[in-house]
């Protein structure tokens, strides 16, 4: 999914937290968003995902305005993901249930993504029993299981062990290669951005840094 951002402005009172006149996120690429704290990175993802719809300007999704149909093809992994009070397996099949995927396919897709992210042994554990790193992997699995066209990631590998970081990065790249899904990843880690991103956009004080 290609994103065209036009004259987006987000303010809190008098303070401008995001001010982007023009930005294009290319389809099928992994784009990194970097910048210091408070530079507007998460705000940008909130606006693109329409969690925050209180802004001026426009975001076009493959040339279209945001709609229910567009929303079905976008997903967002938060920095501190909320896992539902149910098993890991049930967390992962939740988006498939929303899309009325049949039970047999749900099991197939969920088992496949759990295997890829090496979390099969967590299948029956409840979301609240997991460590931070495990929660991040489950949240990524839940986002990838329905093969979205746009994957938004807000520091998905912050504060987790290096082995888990490797696994997650590998699966983000695999997702992008196999499905040509667009990935937009907010990261503080410039090395990570260099490792997995095709392009990097830097934000500072809500503006794109040249």
């Amino acid at each position: 999914m290609r994103l065209d951002i036009e004259n987006i402005k987000k303010t809190y009172g008098d303070k401008i937290v995001l001010d982007i006149s023009n930005m294009t996120i290319k389809e099928g690429k992994i784009t990194g968003i970097t910048g210091p704290n408070g530079s507007g990175k998460s705000t940008l993802l909130n606006i693109i995902s329409y969690i925050d719809d209180n802004f001026s300007g426009k975001v076009k999704y493959n040339g279209m305005d945001f709609s229910k149909e567009v929303a079905k093809n976008i997903t967002y992994v938060f920095q501190k993901p909320y896992l539902l009070r149910r098993s890991v397996y049930d967390n992962i099949v939740y988006p498939l249930k929303l899309r009325k995927v049949d039970n047999k396919s749900q099991t197939k897709y969920a088992n496949d993504i759990m295997k890829r992210l090496e979390i099969e042994d967590l299948s029956n554990k409840r979301g609240q029993q997991l460590s931070g790193g495990e929660s991040q992997k489950v949240a990524l699995a839940r986002a990838l299981v329905f093969k979205p066209k746009l994957l938004l990631l807000d520091e998905p590998t912050s504060n987790i062990d290096s082995e888990s970081v490797k696994i997650m990065e590998r699966e983000i790249v695999n997702f992008n290669k196999e499905t040509s899904g667009t990935v937009l990843i907010v990261t503080h880690n410039l090395e990570q951005a260099q490792r997995i991103c095709d392009e990097v956009i830097s934000l500072d004080s809500g503006k794109v840094r040249n």
Binding site: S49, Y50, I51, N54, K68, A71, K72, I74, T75, Y76, F78, Y82, L84, R85, Y94, P95, L98, R99, R142, A143, F146, L152
Partner: protein, 229 residues
């Protein structure tokens, strides 16, 4: 002091003997309060969750109105329902005054702001994370409301129990619209009030003990459910 001890002895005896009058009153209390709680909860829980997560202009004002109406005096609700259902009132032709149905209506109206306020407050403080998960995984607003109710079920159940406790322990509204008619609209609280003024302490104490036992069982159930979850 003797009359108090004697009252307790006779009260225990009434309970052990399964005194028909005592249990008729208890049954009527449970019927009216349970019906009102189910009616208020089934409609107001989804609405409370929806309002809690929905962003709209004037939300602060709506919050104030909801929270203020949570503490509405029971006699005021009783009086309003009585005026509407009395023979000369707009719904007088339904002939509902001094019936259990009128009591259910009064208690439902009493519980509506309470259930709405508690659910609204819960959804407002803890529903946005859950709503965001549903929304970013492709769910509709309806899916979000359903998911929030499922995720916060223990807290919502506590709210429902709080509403039931308010219903079963209130005396003003049911006294006004029910009339405390023996064998027809007499409930625990109106009976205790009447028995006290008549000096019939054993019966009042027996009903008081049963009311406490009911509260104990409801709270124990919720506590156990919360622990299991």
């Amino acid at each position: 002091m003797d009359y108090i001890l004697q009252g307790f002895k006779e009260a225990i005896s009434l309970i052990i003997r399964l005194d028909p009058e005592v249990f008729e009153i208890v049954f009527m209390s449970l019927l009216v309060s349970t019906s009102a709680t189910i009616l208020a909860s089934s409609f107001l829980i989804p609405i409370g969750v929806y309002l809690g997560i929905k962003k709209f202009k004037g939300k602060r004002m709506v919050s104030r109105i909801i929270y203020t109406s949570m503490s509405i005096p029971t006699v005021i609700v009783g009086l309003v329902v009585a005026i509407i259902l009395s023979r000369r009132g707009p719904l007088g032709y339904l002939d509902l005054m001094y019936t259990p149905k009128a009591m259910v209506i009064a208690q439902t109206l009493l519980l509506i702001p309470l259930v709405l306020g508690l659910t609204y407050s819960l959804a407002k403080s803890r529903g946005s994370n859950i709503s965001n998960v549903s929304f970013t995984l492709g769910g509709s607003k309806f899916d979000s409301v359903v998911l929030i109710i499922k995720e916060l079920r223990v807290d919502i159940l506590v709210n429902v129990a709080t509403a039931f406790s308010r219903a079963i322990s209130e005396v003003g509204a049911v006294m006004i619209v029910g009339g405390n008619i023996k064998g027809h609209t007499r409930v625990i609280t109106t009976s205790i009030s009447m028995m006290n003024s008549m000096g019939d302490y054993p019966m009042a104490i027996a009903l008081g003990i049963i009311l406490l036992i009911i509260s104990f069982f409801i709270n124990s159930f919720i506590y156990s459910y919360g622990q299991e979850d």
